[in-house]
């Protein structure tokens, strides 16, 4: 199963960044054709991204392309570049409903056929950036077998909600974050938290990572390479958590071998949810 903690944004019109982002070892790179690219450079960026997708340096990193909305003059052209460049995932911005995904999916399937890719190979990520998107999060998350994740995009969402970032515990994002994570868990897909824009504020970034991690997000969208390692370290289990998880798994295995339904460890019952939590902790070790 693909580990997705860090999705690093890379401007689609910047060759220096397109050719070096892999060195930071994010779980996914997201070549951006939307907000990072000015309208007059969309055509040139599309070609850069098309060719960058084929760079051997990205063979072990998930390659995501953020396209423009399909109702813009750029969206379908971006999508064609992404599919023909053999992107692993297409990220759709400003997803408001399941219909947006259904429309995208039909175009993806057509393009996969046209360039002899296996139909269904390209995965999708929906970015939720509005009140409608949050309310429809479950329908969006379950709209297609291609869905790999949903991501909350905070800036547009908060404008739509007629509020702004407050810092600290961020109550203005709580409902949306909770809705996104719940939808992702029901759909058995991943959930990405918002970007943290102040790249010089390491303390604030880590505070926000802890909120996202505690709510159950798989990771965050990132706008600066230095955030990748910080995020991975924050998601890595502590030695104490790791030791406990290994003891839980060992105790559960022993109980299974002995035909016992449940077993106690340090006076606490080890039941399936506890084992599942231990497996999750161990999976984060192997991903780091």
């Amino acid at each position: 199963m693909k580990t997705r903690r860090s999705m690093l944004f890379v401007p689609g019109d910047n060759p220096a960044m397109l050719s070096t982002a892999f060195v930071y070892k994010p779980d996914s790179v997201m070549f951006d054709l939307e907000d990072a690219v000015s309208p007059r450079e969309k055509d040139s960026a599309r070609l850069l991204v098309f060719h960058a997708l084929g760079l051997p340096a990205y063979k072990d990193i998930e390659r995501v392309v953020r396209i423009n909305r399909l109702d813009s003059e750029y969206g379908l052209k971006d999508l064609e570049a992404a599919i023909r460049g053999r992107a692993d995932v297409v990220r759709l911005p400003k997803t408001d409903s399941a219909d947006d995904i259904h429309e995208l999916e039909s175009h993806v399937a057509r393009l996969e056929k046209e360039c002899s890719r296996p139909v269904g190979e390209t995965k999708l990520i929906a970015a939720i950036e509005s009140a409608s998107g949050v309310v429809n999060a479950l329908a969006i998350a379950t709209s297609s077998q291609r869905m790999a994740a949903i991501a909350l995009a905070g800036f547009d969402y908060l404008v739509d909600m007629q509020t702004s970032r407050s810092g600290g515990s961020e109550p203005e994002l709580f409902y949306a974050r909770a809705a996104i994570v719940h939808a992702a868990r029901v759909a058995h897909i991943d959930a990405f938290d918002v970007v943290y824009g102040n790249v010089d504020d390491e303390e604030g970034f880590l505070r926000e990572v802890q909120i996202a991690k505690q709510l159950g997000f798989n990771g965050k969208s990132l706008i600066h390479p230095r955030q990748v390692d910080l995020l991975h370290r924050a998601y890595a289990p502590t030695q104490k958590e790791l030791d406990h998880a290994q003891r839980v798994i060992a105790a559960a295995d022993a109980a299974h071998r002995n035909g016992q339904g449940v077993v106690a460890l340090d006076g606490k019952m080890i039941d399936p949810p506890v084992v599942k939590e231990a497996e999750l902790i161990l999976s984060r070790v192997y991903a780091s």
Binding site: P15, A16, S19, T20, L47, L48, A52
Partner: protein, 97 residues
Amino acid sequence: MKIIKQAVAGTLESSDLLVKVEPNDSGLDIVIQSEVVKQFGKQIRAAVAETLAKLDVDRGTVVIEDKGALDYAIRARVQAAVLRGAGSVDVNWGQLS
């Protein structure tokens, strides 16, 4: 593909290149300026020539100001400049791989 007007693509930032194309009925003229022309001039020229050939460009002046771009960026920027110079809005992706 015929270059019918002047066009530019790319930048002069590090790892990028600036490509200028313009009509030239007398033939195909490729000019390459690069700080690494001694080491990589042949490879740059080969990438430019191959990209132009795939686009069926046999006439025009193409000036490259290279700032250490990788092969993929050279191909992408040349393609962008030619498509702009040809006034083309539809991309034939089969010509670009």
